[in-house]
């Protein structure tokens, strides 16, 4: 298993600003994932972040809007840039310490005014 923490747990931001979300895991993992859960909807994968390489983005998500860093095997950040109210969501990171078993962080609840 893996224990994952995220910071901040929630934030309220003004449109046009950016927020960086941190994800810390208690063990070294190769693959980390960032998901978005919009109000009333399911989880959608934003990107996969492997240490030492650029993140791989899913259709509909671009690096300029959601830049990701993965400086080491236990940490990643996701930035939500130039925010609009449509970016109001819960953002979750997950890790896959074993094949086909993902563990999720507690999420960051973002509200954009």
């Amino acid at each position: 298993s893996a224990v994952i923490s995220q910071k901040p747990s929630r934030d309220i931001c003004q449109r046009g600003t950016s927020l960086t979300i941190q994800c810390q895991v208690d063990s070294q993992v190769t693959m980390m994932f960032w998901y978005r859960q919009q109000p009333g909807q399911s989880l959608t994968l934003i990107a996969t972040a492997n240490q030492g390489s650029e993140a791989t983005y899913e259709s509909g998500f671009v690096i300029d809007k959601f830049p990701i860093s993965r400086p080491n095997l236990t940490f990643s950040t996701l930035t939500v840039s130039n925010m609009s109210p449509e970016d109001s969501s819960i953002y979750l990171c997950s890790v896959e310490p074993a094949i086909n078993e993902q563990f999720f962080g507690p999420g960051t609840r973002l509200t954009v005014l």
Partner: protein, 114 residues
């Protein structure tokens, strides 16, 4: 494109009632199937998973799910629910493609009344 459908968005049951939550997926190849649960105020947790073998999978807390390949289904069941099962349940599919992308259903909110 792959998708996952959960038929019930909200389910309300009394304690001791039986539970079945539907999940269908659209993907023609080999899949791995998961049910995740999110209790109020807690992280998303893995409830059970199916990769291969016996299509009836046992999970934690008395839950089970049956993979029916011909129906593209992976329904979640519990014979007798408890108040503590109140949570949101997500079905997910992993269709591989070089990295382990999980595709989630919309979720089902279960409320169990004592």
């Amino acid at each position: 494109a792959q998708s996952v459908s959960q038929h019930n968005h909200h389910v309300i049951l009394s304690e001791a009632a039986s539970l079945e939550l539907g999940c269908n997926y659209s993907y023609g190849g080999t899949v791995n199937l998961f049910w995740y649960v999110q209790y109020p105020g807690q992280h998303l947790q893995l409830l059970l998973k199916y990769f291969s073998g016996d299509p009836l999978v046992k999970g934690i807390k008395g839950f089970e799910a049956e993979f029916i390949k011909s129906k593209f289904s992976f329904n979640l069941r519990k014979p007798s629910v408890q108040w503590s099962d109140t949570a949101e349940y997500f079905c997910a599919v992993n269709a591989g493609r070089g990295y382990n992308k999980l595709i989630f259903g919309a979720g089902t909110r279960l409320a169990v009344h004592p």
